[in-house]
């Protein structure tokens, strides 16, 4: 009962801030709403007893990545609104297509997970005892080792690329 109430109120805040992110006129305000959105998502993780995920969400997204967004937005002058698209109807059709694609994806994911027999409970049963930091670390370095290493390679490539772009001569 309490958890359902917490979930629905947090979800309402998350969706509300998400709408504000795309409707805000001022880009800096939009970035701020994004931060608020991330913080409420972190609160949702706490409700789900995934404290580790919650702090990482705050540390990496709210405290790290969005700070860089804010830097860019502040340094690049965005006072002027973007020019209107030449053909608003074409833009509308494109938006509709993307929204339809997203809807189909969501329906597919929800439908697939509904047919599966509670995989979350099974995973929780096989996970080693201890807090969820241990559980996450255990899974990352056993079942998900390859995706984990691929993701870190991707980040390394991005980092090297940024260094090469920033340096005039090597």
């Amino acid at each position: 009962m309490v958890e359902a109430f917490a979930f629905y109120s947090l979800a309402a805040f998350i969706l509300g801030f998400a709408v504000l992110v795309i409707t805000a006129r001022n880009t800096v305000h939009s970035v701020l709403f994004l931060v608020a959105n991330f913080l409420f998502v972190a609160a949702l993780y706490v409700v789900l007893h995934a404290e580790f995920l919650a702090v990482i969400q705050v540390l990496v997204y709210a405290g790290g990545i969005v700070v860089l967004y804010l830097f860019v937005v502040m340094l690049v002058n965005l006072k002027r609104p973007p020019e209107a698209h030449a053909d608003p109807r074409r833009r509308g059709r494109l938006g509709l297509a993307v929204a339809g694609l997203l809807l189909a994806q969501l329906v597919a994911v929800l439908g697939y997970s509904a047919t599966q027999a509670v995989p979350a409970a099974a995973a929780a049963a096989t996970a080693p005892a201890g807090g969820n930091v241990e559980a996450v670390g255990w899974l990352l370095y056993t079942d998900y080792l390859v995706p984990f290493e691929v993701a870190s390679m991707l980040l390394l490539v991005a980092m090297i690329g940024a260094i090469i772009l920033a340096k005039r001569e090597l």
């Binding site: 800096v28 701020l32 931060v35 404290e51 990482i56 705050v58 709210a62 830097f71 502040m74």
Partner: protein, 378 residues
């Protein structure tokens, strides 16, 4: 815990809660505090009391830290410092607070009003809520109940501190942006670049600490030091040095106080602020100093443990309650901060960035690797 417990009188239930003793911490964890099966006193009244006490103590500590800073600066420079309000100026913080309350609160005409109002709050709130996971002592016995001397023992305590501190950056950036003024903007860019750079090094030192302790809980780290019979400053001197330098930089203190370099930037990101909103930034800076000192005490100097708990000749030191040891150690750190400010000249900005990225971060990463290797080999 049977559901029949709900019908019990609060008094009896409270006694049962006391009998559980150290089992109490899970009840104070955020997120799980709403379980109706537990009794009112354990889940509501005691945490609330602790929160109020910590909050008041921190604000009081901040007020007198400002006075101490002025006094220490004055003594170093062979002056007297504040002497007029009360004997030796002990009432000066109260006079300052009154002055800031009644001052006119000005918002620049072209400022971004909402963000301008929000920025001081974003600065102050993270600095205060970090104290939720700092263990001030072990347990205390009050009125027949065993009360742990911390607000919450979260199993990701250390990460919680880092992540909440990373939210504090927004206060500086937004203050500079919303003022719509050149110098505050420059200062806030400096401040946030500095914070982000040094955050990496500090977080890496915390990783080597976590490797030593094997837990992320602040209480667990102190307990690990008790079991090892060793304060981690002796096991990790390099990590301690990096943490201290990073802590100075993250609180924008001398010798890394470039965001407030008054000769170049008038005053810093808070130039346009006045009255209570200015006071919020001030409070946040000093509260952050207390946070860094408390975290350093907990991680490297054994938190509330008495010095040399294994030496029998010094066992009498254990008679002093743990929270007094904790406060003493924190005070030593705060004094060190003030002493450094009075002694060292300010870094140049490029030197600061070079120190952070080319010295501290590689050293911190090397420290993690060496710690991990030693941990695996031994």
């Amino acid at each position: 815990m049977a559901s029949g417990r709900l019908t019990k009188a609060a008094h009896g239930a409270a006694r049962e809660g006391a009998a559980r003793g150290d089992g109490a911490p899970p009840a104070t964890e955020p997120g799980s505090g709403a379980e109706p099966r537990l009794n009112m006193i354990d889940i509501v009244i005691i945490p609330l009391l602790k929160i109020v006490i910590v909050f008041v103590a921190v604000l009081f500590g901040v007020a007198y830290l400002v006075l101490l800073e002025r006094k220490v600066q004055a003594w170093v420079q062979v002056r007297l410092g504040p002497m007029r309000v009360g004997p030796h100026g002990v009432l000066q913080p109260i006079a300052d607070a009154l002055k800031l309350f009644v001052k006119e609160d000005i918002t620049p005409a072209r400022a971004d009003k909402w963000v301008y109002t929000l920025a001081p709050m974003i600065s102050l709130v993270p600095a205060l809520i970090v104290f939720a996971v700092i263990p001030f002592g072990g347990t205390a016995h009050l009125f027949g109940k065993t009360v742990p001397l911390f607000v919450a023992d979260v199993n990701v305590g250390l990460l919680y501190i880092v992540s909440v501190a990373s939210i504090g950056v927004y206060g500086l950036i937004l203050a500079g942006y919303a003022s719509n003024s050149k110098y505050p903007l420059l200062s806030s860019l400096r401040a946030s670049a500095q914070l982000i750079s040094y955050e990496v090094a500090v977080t890496m030192t915390l990783v080597s600490l976590i490797l030593m302790a094997g837990t992320l809980s602040m209480v667990g780290i102190v307990e690990a030091q008790r079991q090892a019979g060793l304060w981690y400053v002796f096991a990790q001197p390099l990590a301690f040095f990096i943490f201290l330098a990073g802590g100075l930089a993250e609180t924008n203190r001398a010798p890394f106080d470039l965001p407030e370099a008054e000769q170049e930037l008038v005053g810093g990101f808070h130039t346009e602020y006045s009255g209570m909103r200015f006071a919020f930034f001030f409070l946040a800076e000093y509260a952050n100093m207390i946070v860094v000192s408390s975290v350093a005490t907990t991680l490297f100097f054994g938190g509330w443990l008495a010095p040399f708990p294994n030496v029998h000749a010094l066992a009498f030191l254990g008679l002093v309650p743990g929270w007094i040891w904790f406060l003493l150690k924190v005070f030593c750190f705060l004094y060190l901060f003030l002493w450094i400010r009075a002694t060292l000249p300010r870094y140049r900005y490029d030197q600061l960035m070079r120190l952070g990225w080319k010295v501290l971060i590689p050293l911190a990463i090397a420290n993690v690797i060496v710690t991990g290797a030693v941990k695996v080999l031994l």
